[in-house]
């Protein structure tokens, strides 16, 4: 049975965070990753390929997105982070079997981000939204490169703990 356009869209949107994250590992640019995710989705819905199952669709999407990511790097003359094909395939496979990052998770992350100190928010914005490398981030906020890595790592950890706490509370609140 061929998947309908609605199911294709729904499946890819559910996998959006995982798929975009896989692309980000290749391009290391969140806007580029978003563009490639959208291109991949369009291709899945309008392309000639048909998908018998959601698993087949996801497998196709991860491979296609990765190829598009490599093209994007060439087009933007950026270097690859150098992950071997084998590791990328392992990561993709694990992502395909992973539980999707749910809406409440994004919601919780947004709330947790609000609770971060301004300096941490600025750091995150510069690194992930504006796409600056850590050296440029260091220059912008006037701290050393090593300090940027440390603060970024702590921000990730703090956000992770916060999100897990909020999600646990949500689960406890369920009737």
């Amino acid at each position: 049975m061929k998947l309908s356009e609605d199911i294709i869209l729904q499946t890819l949107l559910e996998a959006r965070t995982r798929l975009s994250a896989a692309i980000w590992l290749v391009v290391r640019d969140t806007h580029g990753a978003e563009d490639i995710f959208q291109e991949t989705t369009l291709k899945a819905m309008r392309g000639s390929a048909t998908f018998e199952s959601e698993a087949a669709l996801l497998s196709w999407a991860f491979i296609t997105a990765r190829r598009q990511g490599i093209d994007w790097l060439r087009k933007h003359q950026r270097e690859s982070v150098g992950l071997g094909e084998g590791v990328l395939e392992l990561l993709d496979r694990e992502w395909q079997t992973d539980a999707p990052a749910s809406g409440p998770r994004l919601d919780a992350l947004a709330e947790c981000l609000e609770q971060q100190p301004d300096a941490a928010r600025e750091l995150i914005r510069l690194r992930y939204h504006d796409g600056f490398g850590c050296d440029a981030v260091a220059a912008r906020i006037g701290i050393g490169l090593e300090a940027v890595y440390q603060r970024l790592s702590r921000a990730h950890r703090s956000l992770r703990l916060c999100v897990e706490g909020k999600l646990a509370n949500v689960r406890e609140d369920l009737p």
Partner: protein, 436 residues
């Protein structure tokens, strides 16, 4: 530092391309062999895209706020509905458009207008002259038609954009949280909001793409060249055919030629000078005017070009103008100093007063108004003879004294001569700023 933090920092450095070859190989081996290491990397990547999403949603929500809108008070992020906003954008119209869009947005408001200007609405409407207070949507195009016109826009995040005379600016649909405009020709000044809420702004020119967050900068664009000067903060400029941007910091500039083969570099803005002479040679950046055959006494003659100046509830005026960009001609900022004089050499073939003027900006700053003076025909000598007028700066009147009452200490922008209504056969042979 605990092992988990050490691993995460290693991954962050690796993703940032900061590890040496041997260190990178260790990370790769770890990723190949350890499911835990891969899980850590996947978590990091997911968090990166989700954090960027959260910022995008925040920017989109700021854009949706009604006027006036400029606060950076922390507001609770939306529930899943906020994310759904993004996803709805992704869904687009049916199966089609997977872009965040919601029709044409109001992206700017006209706060001040002077001189001849108009707006061409994206749907074919025409407002001429451009009324102050009008709200502009993506797709709308502003044209400042005369050399003495300018328009100031307030952007949705509170930033200000000033468009100089004889410029053409099209407002584009915001993309990924960035406001965008296409400067087809002319000059603009961008001043970020003072409340630190400015979003990224992108200016596309025929030759380049300029991107800035909270930088104060000005851009001058023609069909082939773009000059970016950054006066505070930092902006990026990218050649149309390149993918790597050049970062331009406070006090630096980057000039970019569409046909240029060499990579653009940011250079310190040159020191300003007090004297400038324009012989209208090949390097002159002419904004308005048409070249005339050389005459008996003059090697170069730049004749006035007609242009309409629309007026509200009245027939438009016809101007005949010559205008030159000082900065683009000389490549060095020209400072108008105390006691300086402006000298024009030219000719008129019919009796008419001539209006002389220039635009200014603060040294390493924003647009600071225009200054003009009318010289009666009698002061120009016999009709048909070449004349020289020496005009002390003090004789020029500010068109907008609220910006600056005096041109002293400001940087010269465009400089022009014109006649109103009558085509007096105005031609200019040389322009000079004389130091005291």
């Amino acid at each position: 530092m605990n092992p988990e933090e050490a691993q995460q920092i290693r991954l962050l450095k690796w993703l940032d391309g900061r590890l040496s070859n041997p260190e990178g190989k260790v990370v790769e081996r770890e990723l190949r062999e350890s499911p835990e290491a891969r899980a850590a990397l996947r978590r990091l990547a997911e968090e990166a895209v989700m954090l960027a999403d959260v910022e995008r949603i925040a920017v989109a929500r700021r854009v949706e706020d009604p006027w006036p809108h400029v606060t950076r008070q922390p507001t609770p992020y939306g529930r899943w509905a906020a994310a759904a906003f993004l996803l709805l954008g992704l869904l687009g119209a049916g199966v089609g458009i997977l872009r965040l869009r919601e029709g044409r947005r109001e992206v700017a408001r006209v706060v001040r207008v002077t001189g001849a200007s108009g707006v061409f609405g994206a749907r074919g409407s025409l407002e001429q002259p451009l009324p102050a207070g009008i709200r502009l949507r993506s797709g709308d195009m502003i044209e400042t038609r005369s050399c003495d016109s300018w328009v100031e826009l307030e952007l949705r995040d509170g930033s200000r954009l000033t468009v100089a005379g004889h410029s053409l600016l099209r407002l584009l649909e915001p993309l990924a949280g960035s406001g965008r405009a296409s400067l087809v020709r002319g000059t603009l000044w961008y001043r970020p909001a003072s409340n630190q809420a400015s979003s990224t702004w992108v200016v596309e020119t025929p030759a380049a793409r300029v991107e800035s967050g909270r930088a104060q900068f000005d851009v001058q664009a023609s069909a082939n060249q773009t000059l970016l000067r950054v006066n505070s903060g930092e902006a990026r400029i990218t050649h149309r055919l390149a993918s790597l941007p050049v970062v331009v910091s406070n006090g630096f500039q980057a000039s970019l030629d569409l046909a240029g083969r060499t990579p653009t570099r940011a250079e310190p803005q040159p020191a300003h000078v007090g004297h400038w002479r324009c012989d209208l040679d090949a390097g002159t950046s002419v904004i308005l005017g048409r070249w005339l055959p050389s005459g008996a006494g003059e090697r170069v003659r730049l004749g006035a070009q007609p242009l309409l100046w629309p007026l509200p509830d009245a027939p438009p005026l016809m101007l005949h103008a010559v205008s030159v960009s000082a900065l683009q001609t000389v490549g060095i900022p020209v400072e108008l100093r105390t006691g300086a004089r402006v000298r024009f050499q030219g000719r008129t073939s019919r009796s008419s007063s001539v209006r002389f003027g220039f635009s200014t900006q603060r040294m390493q700053g924003v647009f600071s108004g225009k200054f003009e003076v009318d010289v009666p025909s009698g002061d120009l000598g016999r009709v048909g003879d070449a004349w020289t007028v020496d005009l002390p700066l003090a004789e020029f009147h500010p068109l907008h004294p609220e910006l600056s009452e005096s041109p002293v200490g400001l940087e010269l922008g465009d400089i022009y001569a014109l006649t109103v209504n009558l085509d007096a056969g105005l031609e200019v042979h040389c322009i000079e700023i004389l130091e005291p």
